[in-house]
């Protein structure tokens, strides 16, 4: 880690990586990238590179986890040992266990769990490279993977963080801003339903700043949402061309 720079945002309001306060990092979304998974997606969100795969609805194992009246969604968020500066042990850390839980809970509201009793859907997320905001990018990719698997959804789930860096509320923090900034607020959102399905925060914010951060994050989510839909359509356009 380098020395902390004095200012993370210059006088003109430009951030260290050249972005404006409410600007997203460049995004690339791809659907159907793995042939063995029922659904899959790949996201590049800034320097984050993340793969997500969905399997199911399929028979639940182990059997005692089966729910007689609904489908069970399981999520595993995992970081590759080489995804961060210092090698991360491949064993799941407490952070990864917590993130797996909150990611599962933020995807569940999008699914019609009661339509597939006694089955399970598994979502596996592998962070290949991390640069701040991996949980948000993971959610965006995981929702695409589930949609790609053909599981009916109320809406896509899309996630984006906002936060406070120096004295400014900014959108989509990258690693240095996350570590050296004042606060980080990841938000997952279903734009069509105006529903927030994940909200976390660490740092210190006044209620006015938090309100601004949530608004900024949901606006960012709406932009990514358009790219998500585009990515889904793109997959099927390619299929059509092959058929012709």
């Amino acid at each position: 880690m380098n020395e902390k720079p004095e200012k993370l945002i210059d006088k003109k309001g430009i951030r260290l990586d050249g972005r404006k306060a409410d600007e997203l990092r460049p995004l690339k979304l791809q659907v159907g990238v793995l042939s063995n998974a029922d659904g899959s997606a790949y996201i590049e969100h800034g320097k984050n590179k993340i793969l997500a795969a969905a399997f199911g609805p399929r028979e639940m194992h182990p059997k005692h986890l089966v729910q007689a009246d609904r489908m069970v969604l399981r999520c595993r968020y995992h970081m590759a040992p080489f995804s961060v500066q210092e090698r991360k042990s491949p064993a799941p850390s407490r952070r990864e266990v917590e993130l797996s839980k909150v990611i599962k809970e933020c995807l569940e509201p999008a699914l019609f769990l009661e339509l597939y009793p006694r089955t399970g859907v598994d979502v596996f997320i592998e962070v290949l490279q991390a640069d701040g905001g991996t949980r948000c990018a993971s959610i965006t990719a995981a929702a695409l993977a589930i949609a790609d698997a053909g599981v009916p959804m109320r809406d896509l789930v899309v996630a984006c963080a906002a936060g406070k860096v120096d004295d400014t509320v900014v959108l989509d923090l990258y690693d240095a801003e996350d570590k050296l900034g004042v606060a980080d607020v990841p938000v997952a959102y279903m734009p069509n339903l105006n529903a927030i399905t994940l909200l976390q925060m660490d740092g210190i914010l006044t209620s006015a700043e938090l309100e601004k951060a949530i608004t900024m994050a949901t606006d960012g989510c709406k932009k990514i949402y358009e790219m998500q839909k585009e990515a889904l359509k793109t997959k099927y356009m390619v299929v059509k061309e092959v058929e012709e």
Partner: protein, 263 residues
């Protein structure tokens, strides 16, 4: 719980909420009775037991010496662990911590860490080499809902009760002296969880309500009234308006609790 009973109970709870009532006769925004007892474990440097209604949490704090993290060589270390002890609920099983106890520990940790409650710079003994490590162990003894608020409150009460050993450095060696000083604290965060059942927001959900609620949102709020940690949980959602409403409820509740607890 079997889904049929849950559905019957949900209906009953919904009907009460529409009349502004709850199963245990509280108002929607009322907290259960709080009892705090400090210093009951003599062998621990700090301890506290919190009763939140029938929910009972014991927190023990142990202070030991250890190495600092390389990125914060001048700061002591804070660690929180939570145990959902099998005697606390028929649904808790012995074994390594599951996702629920890890989430509980990490939410309690975040509230204390982000409000900078422990003055970790004062826990440095020799920069880069030796610091005090504060182990905060949350022990859930009886689960009747809202473990997060009860645990966060017990953790803070235990920290306020924690004594640090006096020490001196002789020839680069640490020597423990007689007597104790209180653990240096800068803030006293209070955590409030708001549950959502069918668009009704309720404070301090208890077990019967937790089993039917859509989702919950937890706010940790520092002495200045600013928000220092948030965690949404459960398989439901909140609209942005509901989040802001919940935040307002939590802030008002914290003012009330601060007065009651004298923190």
């Amino acid at each position: 719980m079997s889904s049929l009973i849950t559905k019957v109970r949900l209906k009953q709870i919904e009907q009460l909420l529409e009349k502004g009532k709850r199963l245990d006769e509280r108002g929607l925004l009322d907290t259960r009775e709080i009892k705090i007892e400090q210093g009951l474990i003599e062998k621990a440097e700090g301890s506290a037991r919190v009763l939140l209604g029938k929910t009972e949490v014991l927190v023990g704090v142990k202070v030991e010496t250890g190495e600092p993290f390389t990125d914060t060589p001048n700061e002591g270390v804070q660690t929180v662990n939570a145990e959902l002890v099998p005697l606390a609920s028929p649904n808790f099983e012995p074994g390594p911590p599951d996702e629920n106890s890890i989430e509980l520990a990490r939410v309690v940790d975040r509230g204390i860490r982000e409000s900078k409650a422990i003055d970790t710079e004062k826990l440095c003994i020799q920069p880069g080499k030796q610091v005090f490590v504060v182990f905060i162990d949350v022990y859930v003894l009886n689960h009747d809902g809202n473990l997060i608020d009860a645990s966060a409150m017990a953790a803070m009460a235990a920290l306020m009760n924690t004594k640090m050993p006096n020490y001196e450095i002789k020839d680069g060696e640490l020597k423990i002296k007689q007597g104790y000083t209180p653990l240096p604290l800068r803030s006293h965060p209070i955590t409030v969880t708001v549950g959502k059942i069918n668009n009704f927001l309720i404070v301090d959900p208890w077990l019967e309500e937790e089993q039917v609620m859509d989702s919950r949102i937890t706010f940790a709020i520092n002495d200045a009234g600013n928000i220092c940690a948030i965690q949404k949980g459960g398989s439901g959602y909140f609209t942005p308006q509901q989040i802001l409403e919940a935040m307002k409820i939590a802030q008002e509740k914290v003012v009330e609790l601060r007065k009651k607890l004298n923190w």
